[in-house]
């Protein structure tokens, strides 16, 4: 957000994410608030934020491959599973430190994404979506049938340690998860402003034109898949070590639908949109979680099931409303607000 009257004079100014002193002050304030939160926030809120941050990492990956590169993917939960299992296997069976296992799990998920996504990249749109669903099922089948993954019983990764200090509570893991989320956001924000990011957008907007301009479509599409899966793998690793279990039932196709819904609500092709979408959906879901028992108690005639279905209905309704009235998502509203702020106090 830039107030009225501030203009860029150099290219570096134009490229800067933080342009004014107020921006820096806001950032520092937000970071202080973020890192001090466990000191005054309740256990429930801290654990909620842990889940929120992990979801942001996964959806950032999806935003890159779908929002920026235009390749619809329903494979995020599967790639998250690959990251979670990779991290658990590396730490439990190979004795690798968590701190090495974390990036490795992202890389393994990325490579798995390339292998799984390679044939899919010759197809587009709905066909690609179906192919990524197939990848989900193949991955889950492998997890269920391999001995190394613990098959149906899953694995129990241990909490990470820093110099012998275990991060074995939600409050302790919070600092790690928040930090990783910030790093991944910084990476994603810069990636989409780079040559690679512009190539992704070109492919999304018109792949034929992009190819004619000399872009190697196959290379960039694979790269988008790799980066997306890397994000999912990192999130999977963090989640596994947070709840100390990786189990086949944790990674369902329903999650993939939620993730896609989040980027639609937040705004396709926007990093802030990822935050808006994830926060909006997760908070809505959490409110429903809170309201359902209350509703079935306050209005017994409603019954438990209809009250429970409220969450899904609310999600569906919100999605329809956004698709009809604001297909560019909350990020677009944010852009409109920023534009009007830039003109304030003038009308135009």
């Amino acid at each position: 957000m830039r107030p009225c009257g501030i203009f860029d004079e150099r290219y570096t100014q134009d490229m800067a994410i933080l342009r004014t002193k107020q921006h820096w002050a806001l950032l520092v304030g937000a970071l202080i608030l973020l890192y001090l939160f466990p000191l005054f926030g309740s256990y429930y809120l801290v654990s909620f934020l842990n889940n929120l941050f992990i979801t942001i990492i996964v959806v950032l990956g999806l935003q890159i491959v779908s929002g920026y590169c235009g390749q619809i993917s329903f494979g995020q939960p599967a790639f998250m599973a690959v990251g979670g299992y990779a991290s658990a296997i590396l730490t439990l069976k190979a004795g690798v430190s968590f701190w090495l296992a974390l990036p490795l799990s992202g890389l393994i998920a990325g490579v798995f994404g390339i292998i799984g996504g390679a044939p899919s990249l010759r197809i587009k749109g709905f066909y690609l979506a179906i192919a990524t669903i197939a990848i989900h099922f193949v991955t889950m089948w492998l997890i269920l049938h391999l001995k190394i993954t613990g098959a149906t019983q899953g694995l129990n990764p241990m909490p990470p340690e820093i110099f012998g200090f275990p991060l074995d509570t939600d409050e302790r893991m919070y600092y790690l998860i928040a930090t990783v989320m910030l790093i991944m956001t910084f990476g994603a924000r810069n990636l989409v402003r780079s040559k690679v990011g512009r190539a992704f957008v070109a492919i999304r907007d018109n792949d034929l034109a992009a190819e004619v301009m000399g872009m190697n479509l196959y290379h960039y599409k694979l790269l988008a898949f790799f980066i997306s899966c890397f994000f999912a793998g990192i999130a999977g690793s963090l989640y596994g070590h947070l709840i100390m279990v990786v189990h086949p039932e944790q990674y369902t196709l329903t999650h993939a639908l939620w993730y896609v819904g989040m980027i639609i609500i937040g705004g396709m092709g926007s990093i802030p949109g990822t935050f808006f979408g994830v926060i909006f959906v997760r908070v809505l879901d959490e409110l429903v979680l809170f309201a359902s028992p209350f509703l079935s108690e306050a209005f017994p005639w409603l019954g438990a099931s209809p009250a429970a279905a409220l969450g899904l209905s609310a999600f569906g309704l919100v999605l329809i409303v956004f698709l009809v009235f604001e297909p560019r998502g909350l990020a677009h509203r944010w852009e409109i607000f920023k534009a009007s702020y830039r003109l304030y106090p003038f009308a135009y």
């Binding site: 429930y44 654990s47 909620f48 149906t152 989640y239 709840i243 329903t254």
Partner: protein, 407 residues
């Protein structure tokens, strides 16, 4: 309406919401039961009604003054069979005063929540994964372990085989969902089959959500199966037997399903002809037994507001959850009193339930004890006859197949 009007309306609604339920239990002595159930997900058909009956049973006892003056606060949360959502809900409600038990539907969730259960020193219910019996802890299996039930079915098959004038033991096929639940009966069941000389074919596992099962059924038939044990939550087992009927297999192969098999108000209602003669092994009462249960029918009539003949098998599951909690609470209150009532007291109380006839016939005699996390060791066999589940045995002791497997 102007913007201020909307804001005012929203404010009034929020106030109304915030002022409601807290007062209901504020002045009363309460103990809480957290039901992390699935009302809109993969097993909603089974879990949804079970949860409703649990709540109705608590309402029934609460209206009569509660358990020694303590009323039960039921907190039902729809987890959508989603581990992350269930964990979040647990963290939301774990500080509820005198939360004694969390009911977790799903093996994956049971495992994910266990560290939190240990930390909070409460107890939890989980389905029939034998591992919770093999590694004793604060998780109480709310059924007979799947491998024990399967082994009881193997005994019945052998008995039935010999009763029909055959010698030796039959060849048994196994088909199920390809997931942790679907594979669990084999962990100990396989060893038991070897022990009693039953030839058990390699399992034919199919993906959850499969609509046609001909391939797997034909494979088992080609290998000479005399009996086929089917797992999956209804309507899956019904669909498997429906396909077998269409292939003509039900004439030569006896089908037996596990606890979550054809339900009188679901599968049996839809495919009575195809299911005729199939057998269900269950650790919960089914069919006519459920319809004739005096307390369950009374609760159903009063709270469910639908005809009793629409009562499903899952009714006895929900009733069993509630009754075991009530019986445990009664013992805990007797042991420590209301002021000291906590999860630890409930844990100790649950281990004293062995030998109690907790559900008045909706399940077998309870087996919870310091050395057992099995709800019961008893199962009953039902045959589908004339679109109804009719008991063909009394409660029978199921073999201990859990101890045969190395976990």
């Amino acid at each position: 309406m102007k913007r201020k009007g909307w804001v005012l309306l929203f404010g009034v609604m929020m106030l109304a919401l915030a002022s409601g339920p807290a007062s209901v239990y504020a002045a009363e002595k309460t103990a809480a039961f957290l039901d992390l159930t699935d009302m809109t997900g993969a097993i909603a058909g089974l879990a949804g009604q079970a949860s409703r009956i649990t709540k109705a049973t608590f309402d029934y006892f609460n209206e009569r003054g509660g358990i020694d003056g303590v009323k039960i606060k039921y907190i039902g949360v729809d987890t959508r069979y989603d581990v992350a959502r269930a964990l979040s809900a647990y963290k939301r409600y774990r500080r509820t005063p005198r939360l004694l038990l969390a009911n977790t539907i799903g093996t994956g969730l049971g495992k994910a929540i266990y560290p939190l259960i240990l930390r909070d020193k409460i107890i939890n219910y989980t389905p029939g994964d034998g591992e919770f019996q093999a590694r004793l802890g604060r998780t109480f299996i709310y059924s007979t372990p799947y491998q024990d039930g399967f082994s009881a079915a193997l005994d019945w098959m052998k008995e039935d085989w010999q009763k029909k004038g055959n010698s030796g033991a039959p060849i048994v096929g196994f088909t199920s969902w390809d997931n942790p639940y679907g594979r669990e009966p084999f962990r100990g069941g396989k060893e038991y089959a070897a022990k009693i000389g039953v030839k058990l074919l390699d399992p034919e596992l199919f993906p959850v959500g499969s609509l046609k099962h001909d391939v797997w059924l034909n494979r088992l038939a080609a290998k000479g199966a005399n009996y086929i044990y089917v797992c999956g939550v209804d309507p899956t087992p019904t669909n498997v037997i429906r396909d077998a009927y269409a292939l003509g297999l039900t004439k030569k192969i006896q089908f037996v399903t596990d606890y979550w098999g054809p339900d009188r108000a679901v599968g049996v209602k839809a495919h009575a002809e195809a299911l005729e003669g199939s057998v269900v092994v269950s650790c919960f009462s089914r069919g006519t037994d459920t319809l004739n249960h005096p307390i369950m029918t009374k609760i159903w009539k009063k709270y469910m507001k639908t005809p009793v003949n629409e009562m499903r098998g899952s009714a006895s599951i929900g009733f069993s959850w509630a009754m075991h909690f009530i019986e445990g609470l009664r013992i805990a209150l007797k042991d420590v009193g209301y002021e000291k009532l906590n999860g630890e007291a409930m844990y100790q109380a649950f281990m004293k339930l062995k030998g109690h006839n907790v559900t008045q016939g909706a399940t077998g005699i309870c087996d919870y004890s310091p050395s057992s996390r099995r709800m019961s060791r008893y199962v009953k066999f039902y045959r589908i006859q004339g679109a109804e589940l009719v008991p063909i045995t009394d409660w029978r002791l199921a073999p201990d197949a859990v101890s045969l497997h190395k976990f």
